[in-house]
Structure formats: structure tokens, C-alpha cells
Symmetry: C2
Subunit: 316 residues, 2 copies
């Protein structure tokens, strides 16, 4: 099905648009029944299913003038796929709900769907169902299903003596968001990092296999997520600022905005790096950087002291 | 955790409110990891997982002045649980996302969550995860997971010679919606049917066991759903208007609004009745009413003729 270039959702109609979107979603061999019935049906090989859900709201989690529709699709998929990564699991199937104004261009919805599908393809997951309806602003609701071993890696397993380690870029997306917020479009590498995060999708399973004692994905800010690990595990976590090499673009943004670039690293989310704890430095897999230590106690410190910069994102 | 009676979401904060809501969600024995980690983890006994997702948008699918928060919760759960019913499956687990304005009363969110949990408890399903964020209007995103046999009942299995049958109330919710739309609050039984549908939750599995050839839940209108069965199965369906006893309250509403009460039955959704086809009248289980017939051809007719009233709901 094709649409005129300036067609809106109201022009396309619900069923025409759904049909065009579904064509963009290839179905994996685990899908017995894909989109189009009352529900999808999946074959499940293992005895455990991991499930997570996230909402993205226009104006709050993304802006249509700050990112292309395909970027929003990539990011919506990435942040959900990352949640399965953070359990040490493997994502297999997703559903996506799109609520949008009637005047949304059909092309936006199609580009969004294509970006979403392309990101899912990176891990071999299929989009098996969804919903489409009208709303005043664009709201994207994603649920992801995955498989995991009998011992998923939780937030609550960190123990005194463990080391804290990070895998993936950290602070880049926050730097990109900061420059977009000031009306700039560069450094481009940071803006792109915000528009299309690149979560380390294989790192979760590798960490689980290596004996990670806890895992979380950094969506709301490094120190905030470290705080979740500390709270849920009943331990204290100290982050070592010296463990981070501040990348040059973050230095540039810090200088331009008059900000300490470390605040993007310590307070930023949206890169969907993985944060975890391991029993020893030796247990930390390749590709991870040791960035701190776990001890008895509670709370999060930076180099042994309270941190007075922004630590993360709150939703209300 | 308790909140002042006039507290809003902004007052409660994300984590306080999530904690209070999660307390309302008992976890079944299938839940290995419930709310609070990056993802939930479920034990799965059968080899097939059924999954469906739906969005409900304030002002479009519900109005806060037309239904209590608990009603909205019941209905949000019911319409999703009904999708699993329509596959001949059994719902086990749900996620729920709530996007809402910062000035939404905390009590609304808690009452919504309680209604949602109570509806899920009717079928023994657990709320295992969710998301909470800010938006301009209330948007509710639900995903439901369930178990089904190796042969889920699809929309595409109807065959010429089958009989069409219905289980559950039909037209009551549409009648209730019609009177609410005119500013009335009675007949109360219809308004309540709209606020809290009562899907026949056991009927899907019973129909599957009885050899149903196709199943669909009536969410968008009886003739519209019959049209989906006809299209997906490649058959013609004739609905017999005489098969319906128009209940007295629908007669009353029809008279008051100057409408044919059959239009609520033929065009109405929201009751989440089950519509299905069976190889013979003898195969139709107790509790179902035969309301039509399947033949070779295409499209849906009423008593052999095209129907010129409203046939259902479109989302754009």
C-alpha cells in the first residue's frame, strides 16, 4: 500500500496504516501467529520469559524537531531491548502501541516503524503486535519479551567486595541532549548518540555468563542507577571519577555550555550502557571498564564523597 | 505509603507512587521476578505464549467524568484479558503503562490500579510490570501475556457451513455509552455495563475445546468483528437479527433517543462478548447463542441483506 506524500493518519485510516506498518515487521521463526489476530502466539523454548514495558511521550522523551521519525523508532526499541540486556537475557519479541494526532504524517509513522524494526533486527527480535489510536500528542508504548536463563541477573545481588563496572558509551547522549536543548546541532557525534543510542546488546548475556552479581541499564543517569543497585542490594557503592576518560566532544560541550563534562557522565542517561557488579576485577569481561567498588553500607558516593551535581532524571 | 487526600502525581513523585501501586499487585506463583527490576521474569509451563497490547486514551476511550478510576482500571484490564480469551487462551500476566498529567490526583491512579488488579484477579493473572510518566492526557498502555494450546483459535478458520455464535452480553455497553453521550446516567444497568464490561472469560477455552473454527472478541462492533472473521477466513457471514432478544433497557434507550435498539446490538462494541464459528449447531457450547451462518462468498449481511446502520468503531 502506498500513500500520497502529504497524507495524514486521518487520510490513511486505521486499517490501511496498520497494514502498511505490519509489512515492515518481518516475523522470526519463533512467531506462530504474528500481527493481525486478537493476539500474537509465540513458541517459547526456554522455561523463562522476561518482560518489560516503557512509555515514550512526545515533548518529554523526544521531540519531533530534534530527531527524525526513524531515530525515534530506533530509540524506542533500543531502550526496551536494553531492559532485557540488563537481565542477562535475549530479546525475542516486541509489541508497539502508537497513539498520535490525526494530523500526524503517515510518513512519520512509517519511518518510525521502519527504524523500530531495524533496531529490533540488530538482536533478531520480531515485532509481533501493536495498537494504533488517536491522541493529542504522540505516545509510544513498547513491551518487549525475551528469554533468560533460570538465574536472571537482578539489581539486588551486589555484595561488599564486588567491583562496579560499565559497558558502553556513557554521557554521550546526555551531551547531545544538552546541545539540542540550547538550539545547537553539533558536536554531531553527541547529537547522533542521543538520537540513536547503541546499547551493548551482547554484554548482558556475557556478564551473566561471567558471574555478574547485579545488572542495570543506565537509562535515567549513572549515579541514579548505581543508587538503585545500592538500595536493592543493601550495599554502598563508590564511583571512581578517575576511571572515566572524558571524550573530547564532551570536553567541547562542557566548555561551550560552561558545564563540567563529568556531569554528563555521572548524571546522564539515554546511552543505555550497562552497569553491573562482579565478584572481582578478574571476573569482569572484555569490553567492560571497572569504575568503582562495592562495600558494606548504603548510598552512592563519588571518590568517597557525596556528589552535588545532577544525578539523574525523574519523571514527575 | 499513604498520601494526603488532595495529593497529585507531582506531589507523590514517581518512586513513591510506583511503590504504592505495586503494593496493590499480588504476584502469582508463575512470577519469578515481579515489578521493580529492569524486567519481570515469568515461569512458563506451556510451550506457547499469547501476547496482545492495547492503548486507551482519555477523551477517546474513556472520560474521567463518565466513569470512576476503578471502572477505568477494570475496563482496561478487561479489554486486554478478552483478547487472550479470543485466542482460546488463559491470561497469566500483564504490564500496565500510565502516562498522566502531573496534576492527576494520586487517588485516581491508586483507584485505577486497584480496579485493574481486581479485574486481573478474576482470571488469576498478575500485574508484573509497568511504567509511569507524564503526558498531557491520560494514556493507558496494557500488554497481556497468556498461555494457549498448540492450536490457538484464529480469526481465519471459519468455513462455509459453520454456524456463527455469540457468548456474553452484546449492545449493553453501547447503550450505556449512548446515554452517557446525551448527559444521562440511566438506565443504570447499561451505564454500568459500559463502565465495567463482564467478558465471558471462560468461554474462549471452552469454545476451543468444543472445536470452534474461529474466534474474535467484540470490542469494536458486532458486524465489524464479523467482517474481520469473514475477511480473514475468506467466507460470507449472515447475521440473523431475529436471533437476538432485545433486552428491555435497550428498548427504553432506543425509545428515548429515537434509535433502533438493534443498532446497539449490531454496531456496538465494548461488552467484549466472544464471537465465533463452530462446525455445527450441536458443537456450540452451553452459554452461546447461535446468531448466524457462514457460507461461501465474502462480506457480512444481516438477514441476507446489506446493513445500512453503523457497524462499528474506527480509530481514525
Amino acid at each position: 500500500m502506498s500513500f500520497p506524500p502529504d497524507a495524514t493518519l486521518a487520510d490513511a485510516g486505521e486499517f490501511g496504516l496498520i497494514s502498511a506498518i505490519v509489512d515492515l515487521f518481518p516475523q522470526g521463526e519463533q512467531v506462530l501467529v504474528g500481527p493481525g489476530d486478537d493476539a500474537a502466539v509465540l513458541r517459547v523454548r526456554t522455561g523463562h520469559v522476561v518482560v518489560s514495558t516503557d512509555l515514550m511521550v512526545e515533548g518529554r522523551h523526544f521531540r519531533r524537531d530534534w530527531a527524525e521519525a526513524a531515530d525515534v523508532g530506533h530509540r524506542a526499541a533500543a531502550q526496551n531491548l536494553s531492559d532485557i540486556n540488563a537481565m542477562g537475557g535475549r530479546a525475542t519479541s516486541l509489541t508497539v502501541g502508537l497513539a498520535a494526532p490525526a494530523d500526524l504524517p503517515v510518513q512519520w509513522a512509517l519511518d518510525f516503524a521502519r527504524g523500530f524494526a531495524d533496531e529490533c533486527a540488530l538482536v533478531g527480535a520480531s515485532v509481533v503486535g501493536g495498537d494504533l489510536t488517536r491522541a493529542d500528542q504522540v505516545v509510544i508504548a513498547v513491551t518487549v519479551l525475551g528469554a533468560c536463563t533460570e538465574s536472571p541477573v537482578l539489581r539486588s545481588g551486589a555484595r561488599p567486595g564486588d567491583v562496579l563496572a560499565l559497558c558502553g558509551r556513557q554521557g554521550w547522549a546526555a551531551g547531545g541532549l544538552a546541545v539540542l536543548g540550547r538550539g545547537f546541532r553539533s558536536p554531531r557525534v553527541l547529537v547522533e548518540a542521543y538520537r540513536r543510542p547503541e546499547p551493548p546488546y551482547d554484554a548482558g548475556r556475557a556478564a551473566a555468563a561471567a558471574g555478574a552479581t547485579s545488572l542495570i541499564d543506565v537509562s535515567d543517569g549513572l549515579l541514579a542507577e548505581a543508587g538503585h543497585l545500592a538500595d536493592d542490594s543493601g550495599v554502598a557503592i563508590d564511583v571512581h571519577a578517575s576511571a572515566f576518560d572524558v571524550p573530547e566532544p564532551l570536553h567541547a560541550v562542557g566548555a561551550a555550555l560552561g558545564a563540567d563534562p563529568m556531569q554528563f557522565i555521572l548524571g546522564g542517561g539515554d546511552d543505555h550502557a550497562l552497569l553491573g557488579t562482579f565478584p572481582s576485577v578478574e571476573a569482569v569481561p572484555d569490553g567492560w571498564a571497572v569504575i568503582g567498588a562495592v562495600s558494606a553500607g548504603s548510598g552512592v558516593t563519588v571518590d568517597g564523597a557525596a556528589y552535588d551535581g545532577p544525578t539523574g532524571w525523574t519523571h514527575f
